[in-house]
Every structure is written in structure tokens, then in C-alpha cells.
């Protein structure tokens, strides 16, 4: 589904990503872990078109996307959530989901000026889709609340609903459990597995190893902008390089 070949991203003299190679197979959940500042969010930004790699290639479903703008990549079927929640806070919960389906609509300004049937049908369809997503994430009673006024956990779930609203094939979740309690985390894991069961491909960037263990088929470990390990949860857990990256090198006696 998504193939990264020799991706590098340089900010001036700093190599944020160096020769990163990854493969996210269709229908799987891939985990991406790494210490703070390892370059995980930079990598997601490069995948989604908010940033562009300085070298290397990214193929999404066979199409090279490393130079494409974000809205084109979204149209190809990629969606994401954000580490620090970035909802449209001045819009209601439902409006957030309606605007998220922008690429699925076609109505233009003239359609709405003359109230064309296309405009009305489309508005209705997008609202209906939005309500369905709200029910799925148990947010339907908050449909008319301003997104900025939602409690934290609900905002996280709304972000995920908003990512699904674009009808993506691949969903990138950037630290979806940040600030959640263990009960909420487990519930989120269920939602992630449900997306997989529906045929979506996912990549999860996480610190919470319990979630990674619960959902991921395979895991990549990123440190200082380089992939240092790749394998199943068991393999990663026992990999000395990974342990060293997280816990530091043992001092010689």
C-alpha cells in the first residue's frame, strides 16, 4: 500500500530523517515507535504532503507522492490524526465531519447560490455520513457542540472520526492515546481493530506499548531519524538495539 524508499529530510544542517525505508502492506496495522525527537512526526508529515522529503521516493498504491500537495494525497486515500489535537474548534462536531468530506463533494458556489438539487442532496448526504460516524464513536449527543468545547477524550475520538470521514484506504494515527487512561486506550484499540476488519490499512505512532502489542502486526523502530529495527512485537521487545535506544547503554562495570 505505502512504500518508502530512502527517505531523507534535512532541516538545514539537521538530518531529521535519514535513508528511511518502510513498507506498509495493505490490510495490516503497522506500528512506528521511537523515543521523543526520533523523527516520527516528520515522517508522517512527509507521507501526508504537509512536508516533503529532501531525497527519496514514496509510493502510495503505486503512485509516487513525494512531491504531491496534501489535498491530492488525501484524494488518493490517505488520512491522518494529529499528536496535538487539531480540530476545527470554531465549528460544531458535526460540521467538523462535514467539512472533512470536502473531497467527496462536488457542489460549487453557484450550486449553493441557486440552491441546486445537487447542493441540497450533497449537504444531506454529508450530514448523514457525519452522523453515522458520530454514532460509531459514541459522539452523537454532542453533534451540535463546538468541537473546541468537547472533553479531551471526545476530541481524540472526533479526530479519528474526521480522518475516517475522507473515506481513506490508509489511516495514519499520530499518538492516538496521548493523555488517555487505560480504559479509554483499550476502547481505542477496539476501534482500531474494527477499522482493520473493514479493510483499512493503518499506521500507528505510539508510546503506549500495550496498544502497540494489542493491535500491530509489525513494528518499525525509529531513532535519530533512522530505522533501527523492524519486526513483530516479540522480536522488537527482545532486540538489544531497541532496548538500548529506549533505556540507554548499560555502563561497563
Amino acid at each position: 500500500m505505502l512504500v518508502l524508499k530512502h527517505i531523507s529530510r534535512q532541516f538545514g544542517g539537521l538530518m531529521a530523517l535519514q535513508n528511511v525505508a518502510m513498507h506498509i502492506p495493505a490490510g495490516q496495522i503497522v506500528g512506528l515507535i521511537g523515543p521523543n525527537g526520533a523523527g516520527k512526526t516528520t515522517l508522517i508529515n512527509c507521507m501526508t504532503g504537509l512536508d516533503h522529503p529532501t531525497a527519496g521516493e514514496i509510493e502510495f498504491g503505486g503512485t509516487p507522492i513525494q512531491k504531491k500537495p496534501a489535498h491530492r494525497i488525501t484524494a488518493l486515500g490517505m488520512a491522518r490524526t494529529y499528536q496535538n489535537i487539531r480540530l476545527f474548534g470554531e465549528m460544531t462536531v458535526l460540521e467538523n465531519l462535514v467539512v472533512a468530506q470536502h473531497g467527496l463533494g462536488k457542489a460549487n458556489l453557484i450550486d449553493s447560490l441557486i440552491q441546486s438539487p445537487r447542493h441540497r442532496r450533497e449537504n444531506e448526504r454529508l450530514r448523514e455520513n457525519g452522523l453515522q460516524l458520530l454514532r460509531r464513536f459514541h459522539l452523537e449527543q454532542n453533534a451540535e457542540v463546538l468541537a473546541g468545547n468537547l472533553p479531551y477524550g471526545d476530541q481524540r475520538r472526533l479526530e479519528m472520526a474526521r480522518a475516517l470521514a475522507t473515506n481513506p484506504k490508509l489511516i495514519l494515527l499520530d499518538e492516538p492515546t496521548a493523555g488517555m487512561n487505560p480504559v479509554e486506550t483499550a476502547e481505542l484499540g477496539e476501534q482500531i481493530l474494527r477499522m482493520k476488519a473493514e479493510g483499512k490499512t493503518l499506521m500507528v505512532v505510539e508510546h503506549d506499548m500495550s496498544l502497540i502489542a494489542q493491535v500491530c502486526d509489525e513494528i518499525y523502530v525509529l531513532n535519530f531519524g533512522q530505522i533501527i529495527a523492524h519486526g513483530t512485537h516479540q522480536e522488537i521487545k527482545n532486540n538489544p538495539v531497541v532496548v538500548e535506544a529506549y533505556l540507554g547503554q548499560e555502563e561497563g562495570e
Binding site: G49, R80, G89, A100, L104, S112, L113, H119, E122
Partner: protein
């Protein structure tokens, strides 16, 4: 009607001032469109100048009727907005404001020196005929017949209001609101940010051009000096005073801020002072502006509370 216009005239609002108020309401709406998309653009004074000069030149030198001429001015402003918007809208916030003020000044200076440029081109190309006088330099174009009527402006404001109301609930308007709140997230949700920003910029330019066409046919004379930095800031002030949390805010702002100095005119030398103080009070105590829906909700609440109290007083009186 006679009574109303007499009353308004007695507080300084004669027909000319009221017409001007509506012209400025149109200009305020033009900047609202870009602000709604999160773009802090002050370019509209430049587009106003273009609309004004194009339409006046067409009616004066080419005998165009009024309506096609101001529509041509509107289209001209929109066309010029295309090459301006593409590079300039890559900037944000204060940088966009600075760049667009640059555009306003360049437009003013171009108009000021337009005849000289044409004359220079004539000599370079060894053309025999006398170069025409088009913009007439700093003196401007004079003797323009007053064609702008209050009725036209009221109709225009109603049409533009309809446009704004529909725009808010359209796919187009939702995309602009999303871009205002978080440009990157909007792009990640599939919104073509460059396209929508430019579209809003061009539509705003067309509205400003239309307002310019009306204002050009209102005061018998147009000069490049009327379309500089000051005008750019005035247009921004209308929308700030009126508030940009609703579509009618800028209209109220344009009307009120144009009327204010006229109403205060009897205060003579204190006019500017009071005008400034009123503005400051508004900005300090009504940051949402005149058109803030929250303000009107609280006004309505207080009114109904007052009515309730009065009614209670009446029944108490009746009981006693």
C-alpha cells in the same frame, strides 16, 4: 419618507452621506470575504481604485452606460487579482498585510503616472500622434456625472448579503472557514488551500472593484490620492468595528463608521477626537464588533428582562 430623510439630514446624514455609507458597506463586505478565509489582506483599496478608474474612464471617455461600466470595473479588478493573489497569498498574517499594502501603493503610483508611461511608450515607439490623457495624473478625472443612486446600492447590498448567507452554508464557505482555523489540517482533509484562498481573494477584489465603481460616480472627481494606505486602513476598520463573526457585521461597521464623523460634525475640531475615542471604546468593550451574534443575544435577553419587569410593575400597580 420625507420626514425620515429630514430627521436624518438634521443629524448630518443627508442623501450624499447615506449613499456613501452604503458604498463603504460594500467595501467592508469585500474585505470580509478574505478575512473569513483567514487572509489578512489590505489589497482592497487597490482593487477599489482599479474598479473606480476603469468604470469612470469607460463612462467618460468611451460613453459607456453606467451599469456595464461598473461591471467592467468589477471584472477588471478581479482579473488583476489573479496574478497578484498567486504569489502574495503564500504569505500569512502581518507579512500578507505588508505585501498587500505594497500592492495598494503600487496601484496608486501606477495610476498617478499612467499618462507619463503612455507618453514614454509613444516616444519610444516613434508614434506621431499626441499621447492621450487617461488618468490625468495627480489632478485626477473631474466633472464625472453623479450616476450612483442610493437604490442601486441598497439592491447591491441585498444581493451581496444573499451571497454571503449562502456562501456560509456552502461547500466553498466551509472550506474557507476550515482554512482560517487550520490551513494544514484543511489541506489534509482534502481542501485545495491555494485554490480557495485565491478564489476568495478574487471575489473580494471584484466586490471592492464594484464598490470603487460606485464611489467613482458619486463625488464628481477621482484622484489617485483617495486610494492609498488610509483607505486600506479605513476598509479594515469598517470590518473590525462591525465584527467579522457574522456576515452583517461589516455592513453595520461600514454604515456606522461612515456616519459617525458626519453626526459628530457639529463638534467641529473635536470630531476627530470623539471619533477616535468611540472607536477605542468599541475595540476595548466589544471585541466581537457591532455584528457579534453574542452581543445581540445579550441585548435581546436584557430587553425581554426589562419588558418582563415593566409588565410585573404594571400588574403590581393594578393590584394596588
Amino acid at each position: 419618507m420625507g420626514f425620515i430623510s429630514d430627521t436624518l439630514a438634521s443629524i448630518g446624514l443627508n442623501e450624499f452621506v447615506i449613499t456613501l455609507m452604503f458604498v463603504n458597506a460594500i467595501l467592508a463586505m469585500s474585505i470580509y470575504l478574505t478575512l473569513y478565509g483567514g487572509m489578512f489582506s489590505l489589497a482592497n483599496a487597490g482593487f477599489m481604485a482599479i474598479g473606480s478608474y476603469v468604470s469612470v474612464i469607460l463612462t467618460q471617455n468611451h460613453d459607456w452606460p453606467f451599469l456595464p461600466a461598473i461591471l467592467a470595473g468589477m471584472v477588471a479588478a478581479g482579473l488583476i487579482a489573479i496574478p497578484i493573489g498567486l504569489p502574495v497569498l503564500r504569505l500569512r498574517d502581518i507579512y500578507l498585510a505588508i505585501a498587500t499594502i505594497g500592492f495598494v501603493e503600487i496601484t496608486r503610483i501606477m495610476i498617478l503616472n499612467f499618462d507619463k508611461i503612455i507618453a514614454e511608450a509613444y516616444t519610444r515607439l516613434h508614434m506621431e500622434s499626441e499621447p492621450p490623457k487617461i488618468t490625468n495624473g495627480p489632478l485626477g478625472i473631474t466633472g464625472i456625472p453623479v450616476e450612483t443612486k442610493l437604490e442601486y446600492l441598497v439592491v447591491t447590498v441585498i444581493i451581496l448579503s444573499y451571497f454571503m448567507i449562502r456562501m456560509h452554508r456552502s461547500r466553498f464557505g466551509r472550506a474557507l472557514a476550515a482554512i482560517r482555523q487550520d490551513e494544514n489540517v484543511a489541506a489534509s482533509q482534502g481542501i485545495n488551500v491555494v485554490y480557495y484562498k485565491n478564489a476568495a481573494f478574487i471575489l473580494g477584489a471584484m466586490m471592492a472593484g464594484l464598490g470603487g465603481g460606485f464611489s467613482g460616480h458619486l463625488s464628481r472627481i477621482i484622484q489617485p490620492g483617495s486610494y492609498g494606505f488610509g483607505t486600506a486602513v479605513d476598509i479594515l476598520a469598517y470590518s473590525v468595528l462591525g465584527g467579522i463573526s457574522s456576515w452583517y457585521g461589516p455592513i453595520l461597521g461600514g454604515l456606522a463608521l461612515t456616519a459617525l464623523p458626519e453626526v459628530l460634525r457639529p463638534l467641529k475640531e473635536y470630531t476627530g477626537l470623539i471619533n477616535g475615542v468611540v472607536l477605542l471604546i468599541f475595540i476595548a468593550y466589544l471585541p466581537g464588533g457591532l455584528g457579534d451574534p453574542a452581543l445581540w443575544r445579550s441585548v435581546r435577553r436584557n430587553m425581554s428582562r426589562m419588558v418582563h419587569l415593566i409588565n410585573k410593575g404594571k400588574t403590581a400597580d393594578a393590584g394596588a
